[in-house]
Amino acid sequence: MSEFFQSKIFELSFNQFLELLPFLILVGGFGLSVVGAALKFPPRFFKLTGVLLLGLAIIAWALILFQSDEYLLGLHVSKLTRVVGVICSIFAVACFGLFNVADRYHKRPEWLALLFLCVLALSLLPTARDWISFFVFLEFFSIPAYILVGYDTDREHSLEALLKYLLSGTFSSALLLMGIALTYLNAGSVDYLALSAHFPNGILSSLALLFLLAGILFKMTIAPFHFWAPDVYQGAPTGVAAFLAAGTKLSVFSAAAVAFSETGFMLHSELMTFAVIAGSLSIVLGSFLAFSQRSFRRMLAYSGTVNAGMLAPLMVSGYTSISSGVFFLFIYGATIIVILGPFSQIVSQRGLDPNGDLDPESFNRKDSEGASISTLILSTALFSLAGIPPLPGFFAKYWIFSDLWMQGQRQVVVLGLLATLMGVAYYIRIAGKFFFADKREIFT
């Protein structure tokens, strides 16, 4: 027995153990919820487990937040990865808390186990030290995510979303894998450190970068790989859609920024060119498509494309602008969750399916309804998303714009400012609909 404890895996110092603790807590949460689901525990058990263990993980990360970087078990944990872990856990708690998932799916409580897996994968993703881990963690996230998207098995939309997400996700994995293969072909390694030392320029390197970026853009819903987002956001259960929009982008953004900067790929100018083209395209395309949507959730998906497009050049420029990007995505994700929470509440107050969709036209305030707290929160959040000061969305946007400008991406900033203007039209229009009763004299 003593030999077992002296074996390699347990040769961890106390500090290293602390680094691993949050991940272990998440794994424990997964185990507990699987057991609970097998033994058919009541919904209360899942609520408790979820809040308690995710809360514990947050605390465990928060305690070691400012410790120095650590390499262990093939992972590279840093302040960034801990922050990503904390934020993803917060998003997860918020998502299943706000959307009342536990009661809704009390007959099929496996969702909690899947959620734990998602959070675990998302917090592991930025710790990758080579492209293979990157790919594995991304897939590790995708599988439970597919299931969660299709969790409303009785709704056609949900199943349609699952199928679309699955097919397009597989396609994106193939692109990413192709990129990794080309990288290996070019440099003979997939390790970040080795690549930073040796990655010859040429047609092969450009192709490798293109494919790698394509796979990542897919998860970030950046054009031209954004087409799956509206269907998935529209079809998935509201809480899942919120978590996908908020958590995935944050984690993938930080992981990609780390990867491109550790490998030194950001020094290859063609990467920035690809990113700027994709980013500009998403800003323009996303703005127009969001503007013309009749469905609220599709509108949110396209606006997500616009926001992610602004981040594309920051993503490939490495550590320098990672803090502004992470801050932006944190604010963005929190706003999306805050929007979809009251949204589903309002929808269910109207006696409709809270996971269903709604035409913005039907948001028009009824004469009998006053302005409720949820409409107030919702419209404040929409103003924040539009980037109107003094709401947090403004500061986040301001920060990434000034980072972009500092890197010389002035055209992206100008496009971003124009998109902000269009955003007013499509966000504020909806914020107005909650308050402005139609064709009725109220005052003077």
Binding site: I388, P389, F394, Y398, W405, L417, V424, F435, F443, T444
Partner: protein
């Protein structure tokens, strides 16, 4: 200084605890009293001048290179005083008004917060935040409490002003990222203004764009008639009374003082835009059948006069412009308020529906005619002082070109006299016959401060002129 700024916010919080209309209306009234006290205390310590003689720093935001600084001098504190004055007068009007709910008053106080904040801000970033913040309460005030076409008006107003402000934001980005300027504090920018103008001659234009929309200068004025017409009375008063003034203030503070070379180079353009604004605004007002729209177009013309004064490079025109700016807040504010009281009873804005107000209510008719006369710049009223200074200053600089804006004065007299003739005199129209025009005490109390203010400024313009004399930078 920070007390004057934060009090509206505190008021909004207090108002949110008062659930009933009546409580909130009286609460709003009494909450103005400490605000006035704070304002008087601020006026006492405010130095005459234009360079933030009094500045207070409350910390900094290094990420944005911003300093949380507030500044006061006679240029901005005079306008803060105007804000408080208008808001206090309106708080009388709100009493016993059936449609004024706590929500309205909260938004109204938030609007005051944004207004005072952008007046007192001594840092470009802080200024921008407050400048944009004003849009949110205004959007809801117009959109929820406005008349038929309010949603369109609110969106148009929001989008156009935001479009202008984004240029300002772009300018701020440029200063932060591409220059050696250490912070966005106003003093720091003005210290470096020569370097900034040399590295980026267009920077002043970016700042100017935001203010040209807000003033509004022709051809960017199209949001104003819609917003003015659809907004509830109190918001129309605030729009005319203080929000348009903010555009002029911004031009003086953030363009003229920071980028003087660029500014003096644009004066010919400003002159042209102002003249077109005056003539088209007056002509537009002449053609209107909708009374609020008519007043709104008259605002475009009056603000044209203010810009005309700013476009001249001598002291007479410049201080005249600031004076006219101030006077317009009172005269047009009173016009909107008087018509608002009529509209509260009849619910019609059509000119043809009216007639014989003088028979229905003498006091209201008197106040209305008084406001109209102030609007056409009758001698003895402040508009005369302002326009006289502006036109004489323009004559000094541009010679006989002054005849063009003078034509605007004639047109102005035409539409205003037509309005007075139809609405106040003549036979009592059927619509007016069917409503009672007895004013409540609080409505009279809301009108009186305007009358007093107008007479005071008209007979003793030096009260304001002497105070703000040093605050207008001259070439």
């Amino acid at each position: 200084m920070v007390k004057v700024l934060l009090w509206p916010l505190v008021s909004a919080l207090v108002l949110s605890l008062l659930p009933r209309n009546k409580w909130a209306q009286w609460g709003n009234f009494f909450l103005h009293i400490p605000w006035i006290v704070f304002l008087v205390a601020l006026i006492k310590v405010t130095p005459v001048g234009n360079a933030f003689g009094l500045e207070e720093v409350y910390g900094s935001l290094p990420v944005f290179k911003s300093t949380l600084a507030l500044g006061a001098d006679s240029l901005n504190v005079s306008l803060v005083a105007l804000t408080v004055f208008l808001s206090f007068s309106l708080s009388f009007y709100f009493l016993n008004h059936p449609k004024i709910s706590p929500g309205f008053l909260i938004l109204f106080q938030l609007l005051n917060f944004g207004t005072v904040g952008s007046l007192l801000a001594a840092d470009a970033f802080v200024f921008y935040v407050f400048w944009e913040f004003m849009l949110i309460p205004l959007f809801f005030l117009i959109g929820v409490w406005g008349s038929e076409n309010r949603v369109y008006a609110a969106l148009k107003f929001f989008a156009m002003t935001l479009a202008g402000s984004l240029f300002l934001l772009g300018g701020i980005f440029f200063i932060v990222t591409r220059t050696q300027v250490q912070s966005l504090e106003w003093l720091e920018i003005s210290r470096n203004s020569a370097v900034l103008s040399a590295t980026a001659p267009w920077l002043g234009w970016a700042f100017l764009a935001a203010f040209l929309v807000k003033i509004p200068v022709w051809p960017l004025h199209t949001w104003l008639p819609d917003a003015h017409t659809e907004a509830p009375t109190a918001v129309s008063v605030m729009l005319a009374g203080i929000l348009l003034k903010l555009g002029i203030y911004g031009m003086l503070r953030w363009v003229l003082q920071l980028f003087p070379t660029l500014y003096w180079n644009t004066t010919d353009w400003l002159f042209a835009a102002a003249v077109i604004g005056i003539i088209l605004g007056s002509y537009g007002a002449l053609r209107q059948k909708d009374i609020k729209r008519m007043i709104a177009y008259s605002s475009v013309a009056h603000l044209g006069f203010v810009v005309l004064g700013l476009a001249a490079t001598n002291a007479a025109a410049q201080s005249g412009a600031f004076f006219q700016n101030f006077a317009h807040g009172l005269s047009t504010g009173l016009l909107f308020l008087c018509f608002g009281m009529i509209y509260d009873r009849t619910h019609s804005r059509k000119l043809d529906d009216y007639g014989g107000l003088a028979t229905s209510n003498r006091f209201l008719a008197f106040a209305f005619v008084f406001a109209c006369m102030a609007s056409v710049a009758l001698p003895g009223l402040p508009g005369f002082v302002g326009e006289f200074l502006i036109l004489s200053g323009t004559y000094l600089q541009r010679g006989w070109w002054v005849l063009l804006p003078l034509l605007g004065v004639v047109l102005g007299a035409l539409y205003i006299l037509q309005l007075v003739k139809t609405l106040v005199f003549g036979k009592v129209s059927p619509l007016m016959q069917s409503h009672s025009f007895t004013l409540k005490w609080n409505e009279v109390a809301a009108i009186l401060p305007f009358l007093v203010g107008l007479v005071l400024l008209g007979l003793a313009p030096q009260l304001l002129l002497a105070w703000t004399n040093g605050s207008i930078p001259v070439r």
